[in-house]
Amino acid sequence: MSKKLLTEHFGVQGIDQLPVYKQHGGYSALEKAFKKTPDEIVQEVIASGLRGRGGAGFPTGKKWSFIDKKSGKPRYLVCNADESEPGTFKDRYLMEVNPHLLIEGMIISSFALGANLSFIYIRGELLYVYHILEKAIAEAYEAGYLGKNILGTGYDLELYCHTGGGAYICGEETALIESLEGKRGNPRIKPPFPAISGLYNNPTVVNNVESIATVVPIINMGGEEYAKIGIGNSKGTKLISACGHIKKPGIYEIELGLPVEEFIYSDSYCGGIRGGRKLKAVVAGGSSVPILPAELILKTEKGEPRLMSYESLAEGGFASGTMLGSGGFIVMDETTSIVKNLFNFTRFYHHESCGQCSPCREGTAWMEKILHRILHGHGTLKDVDLLWTLQKNIDGKTICPLGDAAAWPVASAIRHFRAEFEDFVEHPEKYQDVKHYFNQIEDKQLA
């Protein structure tokens, strides 16, 4: 079993309450952090090699170092808790079970950035988690960890929870900022980057829940020690949300570098494919990353074992690789229709496109329509090529990465499963009544 840095105390009864959290070492990292200067904390995070856990994998410490400290404008830290990437449910779990871990991380990170007002932007559907966080924040105020002159250091911080209204796009940091300003979630053109001009046009850092929570163990053990965990430029542990046709769906904290095969088949993790079926494909990092067929997810094109790390999953580029992304690990067995699954994903991106950029607004709609007609037996072989052209005309041509995120699943599905698309077009009847899930929803025994 790998190290547990984030989930170590998740099984403890009442860990969501401050006294219990403290009994298990909670808020000791904060006391340690206050003995350092803000810049020293930034250096620790740089040394840790932590990369953003929301999906992009940008080094967190580096992102912090970009924040404009010279202009004298107020600085803000915003936690991105708008977890909406299909296949990803780790942040929800973390906040629900151990809200103080995030709050402690928020205080340390805000101190490092020199922010006196910080927000946790949580998706609106998670209002029950919002109330959990609000309660924990109130406890932290009560204990003097938030508010004026925290622990006598002279440092002031107001921390608030803020709820969204249901929009995947608000997970994109500039859309999130717009939304937090009380507007539609339309991403902004960059530059300027939020580190220079973000919330209310002031310097702002937006970090994922898991990234901020990870600052706590980094401060506790020291950045250099943290960097000893993991492999290559993939340092530390990562929460993986495992779902789909596996025996044990759930959240697993893994040490980066774990072989993918072990993750899928070991009883310590996913426990293998349900009902003894065969693995067909995996979407390894949330719905946006390229889908890979079984042979390419288990081994790279060179025949080396594929590892759960930023580099190994990306090995081979998009031709034969994918991305670690948000760690939303979606497993599909041999009964899954890649065409139907792609229709589902494409409908999602069409629904969630904010509508600002034509390639995304129109392109996602057309991809959905074309897949819809293939699904209903009216497709032609030309449609497969048309889909390919369409995705190419979206990829890289929009203000924010939602366009890319909509294009990549289409490109990779056709790249790796073109024969299935062609077969679907020619024999749609073959795919109509296939049950791609187990009959457990009919309350029968699992096969």
């Binding site: 449910f89 559907e125 803020h162 969204g164 300003e181 629904h351 929803i441 309350d443």
Partner: protein, 181 residues
């Protein structure tokens, strides 16, 4: 056009709305619009009519258009009347892999409505929604703030029965008992 029957916040909701607006820097209280729209939806019976949104605009001292454009962008805001109990079934990738489509079909035939419709007794509205970050418990659905996971047909039947029996007031995402400053 129908209107929200009650267009005024309770004293508790008013106090909470004021508290929320105070969380943002001076002059930036518009930031609180989404949280306050959640409160409004809870206070106004599960949906927002133009008059209801105008009330929010007045309360926040902003233009009505600023409220409309936000309310119409975010999928959680219902701009048409809904049943007391809005069932939101996740239809995205991982839930679909685990049978979400058949869960939707099952609810449709059980309640004799299609997605987007409300039962004639005004009890249930059925919606499909995109990923709710509960893929490990797929298939799943949300009612108000409650997540119902690992659904089976039998489980859905008993959940619907429960709501039918026990729902007197509209159920909102921002739970009524959490509306206090």
């Amino acid at each position: 056009m129908e209107d929200n029957k009650n267009i005024e916040f309770s004293a508790d909701a008013l106090a909470l709305a004021k508290k929320l607006m105070g969380r943002y820097p001076e002059g930036k209280h518009k930031s609180a619009i989404i949280p306050i729209l959640h409160l409004a939806q809870a206070e106004f019976g599960g949906w927002l009519s133009p008059k209801g949104m105008d009330y929010v605009a007045t309360l926040m001292n902003i233009q009505p258009i600023e409220v409309y454009e936000v309310a119409s962008f975010y999928s959680m805001f219902n701009l048409q009347p809904v049943g007391k109990c809005v069932i939101e079934v996740c239809r995205t990738g991982p839930c679909w892999l685990m049978g979400a489509e058949d869960i939707v079909n099952h609810i449709e035939s059980k309640l004799n409505i299609k997605v987007g419709e409300t039962t004639t007794d005004g009890m249930f509205t059925l919606k499909t929604v995109e990923c709710l970050a509960a893929c490990g418990g797929a298939p799943m659905m949300q009612v108000g703030q409650k997540y119902h996971e690992d659904l089976t047909f039998n489980k859905v039947d008993s959940i619907l029965e429960d709501y039918k029996k026990n729902t007197t007031e509209p159920i909102s995402h921002w739970a009524k008992d959490k509306i206090k400053a």
